[in-house]
């Protein structure tokens, strides 16, 4: 099974993207998408990506929902900071937090989530010390930011553990 379908999730994802791009569920589109998905998974095999096994779909959905809520909240927070920047300089700063995630893909996902949400930006991850340096736009309460990162870490560990 593994030899024929090296990355089943990637193949399914590519099939979905192909169907969305073509905006159709016609049999021809599905056949073409399946061929492309399997062929491109074979190409990816040559790149030797780190393999990980995300599990527990329900947890993943819940994690996604909590990230979405965080994105909305931090959007509003950053809009406020920018609108009052003339009156009060933002109280920004660097924070470090220890993160104990081994999985490469989970780390990449965490980096993307943190940088995509306004208000936090991933800067540097030290693999030896397992510590992450990130920048925060509005440091009203350091503890809250560290708690947020810890919450993401716990969620990702559940998903990839």
């Amino acid at each position: 099974m593994r030899t024929w379908f090296p990355y089943p999730l990637l193949s399914i994802g590519l099939l979905i993207i192909w169907m969305l791009l073509n905006q159709s569920v016609a049999p021809g589109t599905i056949v073409m998408g399946t061929i492309l998905g399997i062929a491109l998974a074979w190409v990816t095999l040559k790149l030797h990506p780190a393999r990980s096994h995300p599990r527990r779909i329900l947890r993943t959905l819940r994690f996604g929902a909590s990230v979405f809520v965080d994105v909305i909240r931090s959007n509003i927070a950053v809009v406020r900071v920018i609108l009052r920047v003339g009156r009060r300089a933002p109280n920004s700063g660097f924070l470090t937090v220890d993160i104990d995630i081994e999985d490469e893909n989970a780390l990449a996902l965490l980096a993307c989530i943190m940088t995509a949400t306004p208000g936090t930006a991933w800067l540097e991850y030290d693999r030896g010390r397992k510590s992450l340096l990130f920048h925060v736009l509005d440091m009203e309460n350091e503890e809250v930011w560290i708690q947020t990162v810890k919450r993401y870490e716990a969620g990702l560990k559940e998903m990839f553990g």
């Binding site: 993207i17 969305l20 791009l21 905006q23 994105v71 909305i72 959007n75 950053v78 809009v79 900071v81 920018i82 609108l83 920047v85 003339g86 300089a89 933002p90 920004s92 660097f94 470090t96 980096a111 993307c112 943190m114 940088t115 995509a116 949400t117 306004p118 208000g119 936090t120 930006a121 991933w122 800067l123 540097e124 030290d126 030896g128 010390r129 510590s131 340096l133 920048h135 736009l137």
Partner: protein
């Protein structure tokens, strides 16, 4: 674009609110890029446009064309996914480059590079 007038009022109101809100967020992000004091804080401003702005405007587009063409339209989701997935990579690259430069120039207020953990040789651990 004349067929846009076919849009029923309720849909037009939803689309209007979403587009204006998204555009406002993107505009505020751009203003932030202009007015925030230093590089690291400016790193946060464009993410407003790429998260809130893109999500709202693409949702508006989905609603608008789904109502006009009387079918489900989902392919704007791809725009949201790809924009959200790719901008952080650039921002991380810029952030790390800035961090590297500031450390070389020994600017104040920038966290220093942590020293690598001392590698313990077997002889040392025995002592």
């Amino acid at each position: 674009m004349s067929h846009l007038t076919d849009l029923p009022t309720w849909a037009a109101v939803i689309v209007c609110v979403l587009v204006l809100l998204g555009a406002a967020i993107a505009l505020i992000g751009s203003i932030g890029l202009l007015r925030l004091p230093d590089f690291y804080t400016r790193l946060h401003a464009p993410t407003l446009a790429t998260s809130g702005g893109v999500i709202l405007i693409c949702t508006a587009s989905m609603v608008c064309f789904a109502v006009l063409q009387n079918r489900w339209v989902f392919h704007e989701v791809l725009i949201i996914v790809f924009v959200i997935m790719t901008t952080p990579v650039t921002l991380m690259l810029l952030g790390q480059a800035a961090l590297y430069r500031d450390r070389v120039e020994q600017r104040r207020g920038v966290p220093l590079k942590q020293k690598p953990l001392p590698v313990q040789t077997p002889e040392e651990t025995e002592e």
